[in-house]
Each structure stands twice: as C-alpha cells, then as structure tokens.
Amino acid sequence: MREELLSIIETNSRIGLNELAVMLGVEEIDVANELAALEAEGVICGYHTLIDWEKTSLEKVTALIEVRVTPKSVHGYDEVAQRIYNYPEVNSVYLISGGFDLMVILEGKSLRAVAAFVSEKLATLDAVLSASTHFILKKYKDHGTILDQGPTDEREMITP
C-alpha cells in the first residue's frame, strides 16, 4: 500500500482519509497509521501547494544557479551545501554529477534581488569557485503538472 498511497498523495495532498481508504481498498485507520509512519520516518517531508505565480500579480523571479565549489576535507560538499541552503531565499539545493557541483534554485522578488544574492552571498563564500546563473523565462510543467493547459477529452462521447 505504501508506494500506491504515496503516488496518490504526491499529486493530491488534500485527499481525505476516507477516500484514500476506498481507493486503496483498506481501512481508514490503516491509512492514518501509514501516513503517520511515513511522516515519522521523514518519507513525507511536507504538504505543499503547487502555485503558478505567473497567474498572480506578484512578481517573482526563479533562477537556476550552477555552482562549482571546493569540497571541504572533512564534510565534503555537505558543509558548503548547508551554508547555501540556510539562506531562506534558496528553494532547493542538489549535488549534481557532471560539469559543476551544486544546483541551487532560488526564488527572488526581482532580477536585482537574485543578482545581489549571487554576488553578495554566494560568490563570497570561500568554497565557491564559480556561479553561473540561469533565469527561468517560463514554466511549462512543474512537479509533473502541465501548468498552462486545461483538461481536454477528445474521445467520442459514447463508444461500445
């Protein structure tokens, strides 16, 4: 049940216990217990809302920053990553294989705010060798959801 439960709530965290129990063919109490266990184990890390900010009046800029760093001898990349993810404006930090080391995703109020973060906070860290910033121009699909498309069903209304 675990994986199936997760895959349902991954795209709909607001679904009720009752409905989950029906869909999975188990008792409500089992779903509640499993969810509690998943939260306790840190498998479920949060219940967020997917927002298309472009449709609001709020200005937001998202940037992907490729960062090359010098790993520290004891803690390797973890220490640098932590320095970076402690900034609240940082959305995600991933360790990446290939031409650079850390992928930092940042949300700022404006282009200038992002630029300031990179030059004043990121680039000044000792371990950071270089940072290459990419601005996101348009989000087509996020977290598995296509943002700009209503559901269309072109099937015939009635078929045998």
Binding site: V22, M23, L24, R155, E156, M157, I158, T159, P160
Partner: protein, 388 residues
C-alpha cells in the same frame, strides 16, 4: 431499380449505442462515463516508435500475417504471461483491432446454420458477425446472481447438435465480470465433451483486479479448440491505432489469414512498429494504468453501495454495471433522463443485449474528478426518483 441490399445485412439491427450517442453528442458540458476506451494517451515511448517508423520511411505493407518481429513478440508475451506456445509463422495473425479478429474467426469457422453461442450482456459485434457468416446466434443470458459469469450448466443447456462455437468474452464489457480458473475449468470440460470450439475475446486481459487473468487456452486440451483474441487497445491505451491479434491452431489460423489477406491485406504498418515497442517495454505503463483503474473501480463500488444501488463487485475491464430495476423504468429511459437532467452520459445496459435491461454500464476510464462529480449527480438524481 432492383433492391441493392443484402437481406442478411438489412436484417441486422443497428447498434443500440448509436441512438443514445446522437442524443448525447448534441448536448453541451456533458460528462461522459459512456466511453469504452482508456482515458490515458498511448505512452510516449510507444508513440515515438510509431513516429520513428514513419521517419524511417517504413510506409510499406507488411506481410499478411503482420511484421515478423511483432508476431515473435506476441508469441513471447503469451508465453511469459500464460505459458502458451504459438508458432509465429502461422499461428499468430495481426489484425485491425480485436474486432477484425472476431469477424474473420467466426467466418472462418462456421457453416450456414451452425449455432454460435453468445453469452450476453456482451460487446455488440459478436451477434452481427455471426449473422453475416450465416450462423445462428444462440444467446445465453448471464445473471447478476452469478456475477455475470458463464456457468457450465447454462452452457450445457444451450448446446445442440448444431453448436459449433462458443464466444467467451471475459473480462467482460459491459459488466466487468471475470472468469476465474475454476469457472473456466468447468466450461472447458463441457467444451471438450461436446466437441465445440471457443472464441475467447480477452482484449481486457491486462485489466484484471483479482489475481491474474487466466486464459481458457491454457487449460488441458483447450489450446487446439480456442481462438484467442487480444490486442493493444485497452492494455496500452492504443484504441485509435487499430491493432489486435488472433492466435490458435494452424488449421483455423491459415483460413483466417486468407480472409484477412483478401479483405484487409495487412494491419497498419505504423501501428505494428508501435506495438513491438509496447510489448518490449510497456509492462510498467500497463501496471500504472491498471493501478489507477483499480482505485477508481473501488471508488465507484463504494459510491454505489453508499447510494444503495445494487451492484456486484466487478473485477475486470473498466466497467461497472449497477442495477436500476427499483426505479421501474427501462435503462434507456433512465439513461436519457439522467443525461438530460444531470448532464452525465451512461450507456443503457440494453445496448448489450436484452438481458442488460435494468442495468447501466458505467465506465471508469475517466478522471477521478469526473467520477466524483458524476456520482454526486447520480446520488442527487436517484434521491429525487426515490422521493417521487
């Protein structure tokens, strides 16, 4: 001018679904749970295989039987799923959907006056195909108390000296019924004893929610009495590609290939390349879709129970078949009023045979959101009916 028409053809009743379709298609903002095909798109890698085949200029005919590669993959699939052995050379025929396979199998096997046993409610094309082949359709009315499974007793009673072929359509459209191993063993015993043949339409075999699908062809002595029909439409969400297949003993398949050769030539080449990819790398897609259907199935079973609508739990295909006899109207009246008053399209059970009267076919090949809205509207509707 002389009458241009064939008497046999004219005598065939048009599909009951057609009439209801005409009403539904003129209305706006209707949610349809009347669709007999998956709501998923064909998985992208399978579509890509079709696209690449076009880009590479593979726009020729294939051999009559279908691409050798595809027949090999079909053979492998049936072997790994059911332990069946078919020779890709002349025991597997790639057809234009399962529908063509049904037509040519019946035509290849019956003589005028032979009886073809058809358990109803069922898919709409068996009876017309039997009639066009000059056979006499003999209907067995499946019963709700048997969960719409075919029983050996019913079969035995329907068999006469003229019986040639039994159509065995499970998992079933429109009831969602399945036949488990023990059910099939009882049927197989009668088949062997009475020396008749089986056309087993297993197009929904991948969509089974209670144990694994069992094919009658895998039972002792049944392989050489069975034409096994399957295809890509339901399992891989490939309805529009029009691709199915038939497998069976060489003696019958060779005759079917002849009909196929003269009427069709070969199944669409692009679809055949896509199907090779589906069989090689599509298991995970099928599993995902199946999981999703199963969740919706459970949701509907529960919704009908809560409404107090009589309904057996179906374990196959993507249909559920609730009973509406308590409302004292025909299923067509019910479906028409429900459509007009609540804007949800369901198919009257009577479209699948007279014994489907008093039932509705509800397809759960539709999003959870649509299912939820539809069930809320149905509850609303029947509450009103019960209050009258």
């Amino acid at each position: 001018m002389r009458n241009p028409l064939s008497d046999v053809c004219v005598a065939i009743k048009p599909s009951g679904i057609r009439k209801f379709f005409d009403i539904a298609s003129e209305m706006k903002d209707v949610i349809s749970l009347g669709v007999g095909e998956p709501d998923f798109d064909t998985p992208q890698h399978i579509r890509d295989a079709g696209i690449y085949s076009l880009e590479k200029g593979r726009t020729f005919y294939t051999s009559n039987s279908g691409l050798k590669e595809l027949r090999t993959e079909i053979g492998n699939y049936l072997n790994r799923k059911f332990g069946l052995e078919y020779d890709g050379e002349d025991e597997i025929l790639v057809t234009v959907g399962g529908s063509e396979a049904i037509d040519i199998a019946i035509r290849a096997m019956v003589n005028p006056g032979d009886e073809v046993i058809i358990p109803q409610p069922c898919f709409v094309s068996y009876e017309p195909c039997a009639l066009m082949a000059g056979a006499k359709p003999v209907v067995i009315e499946l019963k709700a108390e048997d969960e719409f499974r075919l029983t050996a007793k019913q079969l035995r009673e329907a068999i006469t000296d003229r019986t040639k072929l039994l159509v065995l359509p499970f998992p079933n459209n429109p009831t969602g019924a399945i036949m488990e191993r023990a059910d099939l063993e009882a049927i197989a015993e009668v088949i062997r004893e009475k020396d008749i043949y089986v056309l087993s339409d297993e197009i929904y075999s991948e969509l089974t929610y209670k144990g694994k699908h069992v094919t009658i062809a895998s039972l002792p002595g049944m392989r050489d009495r069975t034409i096994l029909i399957n295809g890509f439409s339901k399992a891989y969400a490939m309805t529009g590609w029009r691709l199915g297949y038939a497998c069976g003993p060489r003696t019958i398949l060779v005759q079917m290939r002849k009909l196929h050769q003269f009427a069709i030539m070969c199944a669409p080449t692009t679809s055949q390349y896509a199907a090779v990819e589906a069989l090689r790398n599509g298991d995970e897609d099928v599993e995902q879709m199946c999981t999703s259907y199963n969740q919706r199935r459970r949701f509907l079973v529960n919704a009908f129970r809560e409404m107090g609508l009589e309904c057996f739990e179906p374990y196959g295909a993507f249909y559920i078949f609730p009973c509406i006899k308590e409302f004292n109207m025909t299923s067509e009246e019910f479906a028409t009023r429900f459509l007009e008053e609540e804007k949800v399209a369901l198919v009257p059970g009577s479209a699948f045979g007279d014994c489907g009267e008093g039932y509705l076919r509800v397809s759960y090949a539709s999003s959870m959101e649509n299912l939820k809205i539809s069930m809320a509207r149905l509850k609303h509707f029947i509450t009103r009916l019960r209050a009258q």
